[in-house]
């Protein structure tokens, strides 16, 4: 009973003024396809393949060029109506990346100071690339050993993990106290990200860090 009442209410709301356009379109669809199907029915009923009717040929032969014109125009109009929306879509369509709008960004927590012993690294992902575009950018957090920390003036540093040469992922090598790219043996200085040796030319972009009173480390963005 409930479903019947509901469908009745739906019918009433479908007929209301705001939906009149939708209703009109549906009527149009039903009319155009219904009438066409009826004509199609009569058309197939009167197919007589073995019977060439010269009368009918006479009826249409004078308009032959006109009908060819109609055919060609309809086809070209059709193609235009496919292309116009398709080109618009391909030209103006955008893709969502990351699914996070710039307004809601919160700096991600990387780790706690206690979890990262000296001379070790932690990998994390930033929601923005160094050029400011949204994306997923891998990065590394490094707890510098004492001598390096004295040079850098801070214990924790973080850099982009994407090698500036060809985009391999770099890592911290504790035996040599250097950031190392395994692809083409590029070495970076962990205190400032500059190139020491190897094919890379540009330094690694540095990540701005913030350590709160609990010892949690946050990535604030790019320096």
């Amino acid at each position: 009973m409930n479903t019947i009442g509901q469908s009745f209410a739906n019918l009433i709301s479908a007929a209301s003024l705001t939906n009149l356009k939708d209703l009109g379109v549906v009527l149009f669809l039903v009319l155009v396809i219904g009438v066409g199907t009826i004509i199609y029915y009569f058309y197939i009923k009167s197919f007589r393949p073995k019977h060439n009717n010269p009368e009918n040929n006479k009826r249409t032969i004078n308009r032959r060029n006109f009908l060819v014109g109609v055919f060609v125009l309809a086809l070209s109009g059709l193609i235009a109506q496919f292309l116009l929306p398709l080109l618009e879509l391909l030209k103006k369509g955008t893709v969502i990346t990351g699914g996070i709008s710039p307004g809601q960004e919160t700096p991600p927590k990387i780790a706690n100071v206690a979890d990262v012993p000296p001379d070790s690294q932690v990998s994390f992902v930033l929601r923005r690339n160094p050029d400011g575009s949204p994306g997923q950018h891998p990065a590394i957090l490094i707890h510098l050993p004492k001598d390096k920390a004295a040079v850098a003036g801070k214990e924790f540093v973080a850099y982009s993990a994407i090698c500036t040469h060809l985009g391999c992922i770099v890592g911290y090598k504790s035996e040599e106290d250097m950031i190392f790219c395994p692809c083409h043996a590029g070495y970076f200085d962990p205190t400032n990200g500059k190139v020491i040796s190897g094919p890379p030319k540009k330094p690694l972009p540095e990540v701005k860090l913030r350590i709160d009173e609990n010892g949690d480390i946050y990535a604030e963005g790019w320096v």
Binding site: V32, H51, N56, V95, G99
Partner: protein
């Protein structure tokens, strides 16, 4: 007149050259028996048209879909963004969604036509089996496809799929093959790949199906009436197909502009969501699962047995005659199968989010089987003799409607084309002012009218001599 005539013969020469060199002369010599013009015979062709539309709109959506879950359900957001913010995104997704539903509906109707008219009779048994495989693949692809939206319906579908796989023998192994670790971040890219892969497989199976139809021709009339005159496939039938395809595409565009495709609630971990209902073609299976019997039995074993009997029917059915009223086994079983399917569909549809008591379902199933079995038995109790004579109109009396159509064909076609171009112009105006919904609606209506003007012009151009 002279000039126009020589121009046309030039085009004709080129077309003949093209047909000859592409080796398509085999196809152009194909003939279509008149009984195959009945709308009943159009379901299969329309279903394959839907497949082409699905491939086309699918490729466009692939450029905009982000197959990732992340923290915020990125896949859902990308679908919503495509539907709401990309120009004509709603039309592309609407066509994809409605065409998928229509393809399955039309395949089912096509199956019923083939089954009940006994078109699977020798030598077409394998065409029939390959067709059933294609139907199953299209349902699988549709299931994978609607799981990609990542709304509450998709999540329910994935969950049911996962638990079904896990309960199979060797389920753990199969589960890790299909779902990876099972987290959405791994399931979504896999489902996207499987969705496209199954669709590609379906394309190959369909080509096989078409090849077999071409090799064996369309089945003769089921009532054993005498062989009838035929019409050429090229250009008469091919142009009819073209016009009908254009009308169908226009209708789909208009419909998806007026009723943009649905998108359920966004799934996020820890948020209460209504229980999703599966799509209608899976509802019967879902209702079986809801009765609480073993899910493997309900979801896989029982439907497989029901289907397997349909598959072996060409070899079980004695087929003394192809008329449905002369084939007691096939007709009775077919009616019972359709009855049970519709009963389960309705039961599932009317009890959303509730369990179905097993006893009720069992009693209803037995009742439906008894009623449909009785109907089938009664329908097949009197053999129908083969129809020897065909009703032919005498040469003098021609159909009034067709005579009127032929006499006025030029202005009907012209008027249809002019109104189509008026609608198209309005559409362009809306398009330029970035009013995409109205533009799509007007373009769709215009495409429908252009389809009909193609059809009318085609009647005047190539069909006139075949009409009484």
């Amino acid at each position: 007149m002279q000039k126009a005539g020589s121009e046309e013969s030039c085009i004709k020469k080129f077309v003949r050259w093209l047909i000859d060199r592409t080796g398509a002369s085999d196809f152009t010599k194909t003939i279509i028996p008149r009984h195959a013009l009945h709308p009943m015979y159009s379901f299969g062709g329309l279903a394959s048209l839907m497949f082409f539309l699905l491939a086309f709109t699918g490729i466009i959506q692939l450029m905009f879909y982000v197959p990732a879950f992340g923290e915020e359900n990125i896949a859902y957001e990308s679908v919503r963004h495509f539907t709401e913010s990309v120009p004509y995104g709603f039309v592309v997704r609407g066509i994809h969604s409605y065409a998928a539903t229509l393809m399955i509906l039309l395949s089912m109707l096509h199956f019923l036509r083939v089954y009940f008219t006994g078109a699977y009779a020798k030598p077409r048994e394998l065409t029939y089996v390959v067709g059933i495989v294609a139907g199953l693949l299209s349902i699988a692809s549709a299931f994978l496809g609607y799981s990609l939206r990542m709304d509450h319906i998709s999540v329910e579908a994935i969950r049911i799929g996962q638990s079904l796989i896990l309960q199979l023998p060797g389920g753990e192994w199969l589960y890790s093959l299909i779902f990876g670790s099972g987290s959405f971040d791994e399931v979504i890219p896999r489902f996207l790949a499987f969705h496209i892969g199954v669709a590609g497989l379906l394309a190959i199976i369909l080509l096989l199906h078409f090849y077999m139809i071409h090799a064996h021709h369309i089945s003769p009339p089921y009532d054993d009436s005498e062989s009838e005159p035929t019409i050429p496939f090229y250009p008469n039938f091919l142009l009819t197909e073209l016009a009908v395809a254009v009308v169908a595409i226009g209708a789909l565009v208009t419909f998806s502009a007026v009723f943009p495709p649905e998108l359920g609630f966004k799934f996020v971990f820890g948020k209460e969501l209504p229980v999703g209902q599966p799509e209608w073609y899976l509802m019967a299976m879902y209702a079986l699962i809801k009765t609480g019997i073993d899910p493997v039995l309900a979801g896989i074993v029982i439907p497989s047995i029901g289907l397997l009997i349909l598959v072996i029917m060409p070899w079980v059915d004695p087929l003394h005659s192809r008329h449905p009223m002369n084939r007691r086994i096939a007709t009775t079983y077919g009616l019972i199968f359709v009855g049970e399917y519709i009963m389960l569909f309705l039961y599932g549809q009317l009890t959303p989010g509730e369990q179905i008591p097993l006893l009720n379902a069992l009693l209803l199933a037995i009742a439906v089987a008894l009623v449909m079995g009785y109907v089938g038995f009664r329908l097949t109790s009197k053999p129908v003799p083969p129809k020897k004579t065909q009703k032919q109109r005498s040469d003098g009396a021609s159909s009034y409607a067709v005579r009127v159509l032929l006499r006025n064909v030029w202005w009907i076609a012209g008027l249809l084309l002019i109104s189509a171009f008026v609608l198209c112009g309005l559409g362009v105006l809306n398009h330029l002012s970035e009013n995409y919904y109205d533009a799509a609606m007007l373009f769709g209506s215009s495409i429908i009218l252009m389809g009909w003007s193609l059809f009318v012009a085609k009647i005047g151009l190539v069909d006139a001599k075949y009409l009484t």
